[in-house]
């Protein structure tokens, strides 16, 4: 008898599991394994094969979080990316208990050694240095390795008179590395100061979420600051602000559109158009590096 039979799209068990994950990471549009996925923005159940390499929700156009490999695939000219400092990994400056296990777990989960991938590539045939953060690795937090890799990438760009593009996504400084993680903010900022003084182009692409110490350093220092739609961008976390002022936060607070309205973002760019926009920006600055060389 098949009177009440329904197609078994998702089992109850799966639903429960998704719910549990949701509780901890409310705002994160995630793509769990399986044929069907749920968009955390519109809550629609989506057939996985409908999601393209741009990782957008086919129902509401939410921009899901990407890892560096996926970002490289939709940004760089095919096969042009050469990675820097691939094997750099952290020590434990604060002797934080079991830090090596925390790192190991993050490495297994993300498949990369640390929360940023750096290198050089071409976009529409134009050379650029690139840094791509990954929120899947300890929330993209910045410790010694993230600071050092980005600083080296910036210094490489300065030395070779190249532009640099940084895709940001981060919860902020890596608390487990204590004060040394705070020092990374100054380290990257001063390297960008020299790149800037050399008359070279720095483009920031803010992606969801960009907060804390990364917002308070290199994320906000771009000559041109682009953002993906609806990305959360801010200095203080929303829970901290609520706890400080005991008020509800306005709708859309700290989203990309809020930052554009308040003058901190140049352009909000849909992910499918990002490569073209970056190519165009690089082309319009193509004389910049050579002029003073």
């Amino acid at each position: 008898m098949n009177l009440f039979g329904k197609k078994n799209y998702i089992s109850i068990e799966n639903r429960e599991r998704t719910k549990k994950v949701d509780k901890r990471k409310k705002a994160e549009p995630s793509i769990p394994d399986g044929m069907w996925i749920k968009c955390n923005t519109c809550k629609a159940i989506i057939y996985k094969k409908e999601v393209t390499e741009y990782k957008l929700c086919p129902n509401c156009d939410a921009h899901f979080r990407m890892n560096p490999a996926e970002r490289i695939a939709i940004t760089c000219d095919e096969g042009s990316f050469e990675e820097f400092d691939q094997n750099m990994h952290p020590k434990n400056p604060m002797n934080y208990p079991e830090y090596d296990q925390v790192i190991k777990k993050a490495q297994d989960k993300s498949g990369i050694k640390e929360a940023v991938v750096t290198g050089r590539c071409t976009i529409h045939g134009q050379k650029t240095v690139l840094a791509i953060m990954d929120s899947h690795f300890m929330m993209g937090s910045m410790g010694s390795v993230v600071g050092e890799k980005i600083t080296r990438a910036v210094e490489y760009a300065t030395k070779h008179r190249l532009p640099i593009i940084i895709f940001t996504t981060s919860g902020g400084a890596r608390m487990q590395e204590g004060i040394i993680s705070l020092m990374q903010m100054a380290k990257v900022s001063e390297a960008l100061g020299r790149h800037d003084a050399a008359g070279l182009l720095y483009v920031t692409v803010l992606t969801d979420p960009t907060t804390g110490g990364v917002t308070a350093s290199f994320a906000m220092l771009g000559d041109i600051i682009l953002s993906e739609p609806k990305a959360l961008i801010g200095f203080a976390g929303q829970r901290v602000i609520k706890g400080t002022i005991h008020q509800d936060l306005p709708e859309g607070f700290q989203r990309a559109e809020f930052q554009l309205e308040h003058g901190f973002v140049d352009r909000i760019v849909h992910r499918e158009k990002l490569r073209n926009e970056l190519g165009k920006i690089l082309r319009l600055h193509s004389q910049t590096g050579r002029e003073e060389a």
Partner: protein, 265 residues
């Protein structure tokens, strides 16, 4: 009480001498200037020009109060973006007139509020770090109490970073550390110890260059004890920094921060 927690408690004491008191004790003819020229004047940041034994200097610091009224006026020492922009404006002015800059740091952190976000707290902090790293005049930063994260760093990208014996400097408060990483607010003292946030720890890992002892009877009872030592050190160090070729000074400042980080390749 652990040593670290003891210093945290002392650094936060409401009686602890604040920036205005240090300015009065160390400098002559302090003249305060207001406003960031964009939006407002932030009472959490005090700044202006003064004389250090006859040498014109720019002095900037985070102000905390001793009473509730004073603290409301200075937002409990938590600056808004306009405070950091006022500080940067005064630093640029110092650069123009070849005056050394001395900053006093005593803040739980940059203010976390709706207005602060609307006016770009992150941008203000970021801009200060970048501009301080290449400011063509000597900078000395002195941590006199709390040094809370990016809100402290945005006034402390300096040639020399000094700290009083019971000052502190950390990426977040020990309370925040315990509740975020361990979800257990009862482990604050353990967090404070682990975070290496006291002057002695920071001296060891070279985050600060020099520590100034505080009097046994407490800084609030004998400010001169430490202020005199600070004045002497400033009078000795500033001429040395001023004599340096500016490119050399900036190279040393760059390397001072460039060196931080522990990693394996």
């Amino acid at each position: 009480m652990s040593n670290a927690m003891n210093s945290v408690a002392i650094a936060r004491m409401i009686e602890r001498p604040n920036t205005r008191q240090f300015i009065k004790a160390i400098f002559d003819d302090f003249m305060e200037f207001h406003g960031d020229r964009y939006y407002a004047d932030d009472g959490a940041i005090v700044g202006g020009i003064a004389s250090l034994n006859g040498t014109p200097v720019t002095v900037i610091g985070v102000q905390k109060g001793h009473t509730l009224d004073e603290n409301v006026a200075c937002n409990f020492g938590c600056p808004n973006p306009e405070g950091y922009r006022k500080a940067l404006r005064l630093m640029k002015q110092a650069e123009k007139f070849h005056r050394p800059v001395i900053t006093f740091i005593n803040t739980a952190g940059a203010f976390c509020g709706i207005g602060a976000e609307e006016r770009g707290q992150g941008e203000a902090l970021a801009r200060n770090q970048m501009e301080m790293s290449r400011l063509k005049t000597p900078i000395i930063s002195i941590f006199i109490g709390e040094g809370g994260s990016g809100g402290a760093l945005a006034l402390a990208v300096a040639d020399r970073v000094w700290m009083l014996e019971h000052g502190m400097y950390s990426v977040l408060s020990p309370e925040g550390f315990a509740s975020i990483l361990w979800r257990d607010s009862s482990r604050v003292a353990e967090a404070a110890e682990l975070m290496k946030m006291t002057a002695r720890d920071l001296l060891q890992n070279e985050v600060i260059d020099k520590m100034f002892l505080e009097p046994k009877e407490g800084l609030e009872n004998n400010l001169e004890y430490t202020a005199d030592a600070l004045k002497e050190a400033l009078c000795e160090t500033i001429p040395k920094l001023q004599k340096k070729d500016i490119d050399e000074l900036l190279e040393e400042r760059y390397n001072r921060f460039r060196k931080f980080g522990e990693f394996i390749e």
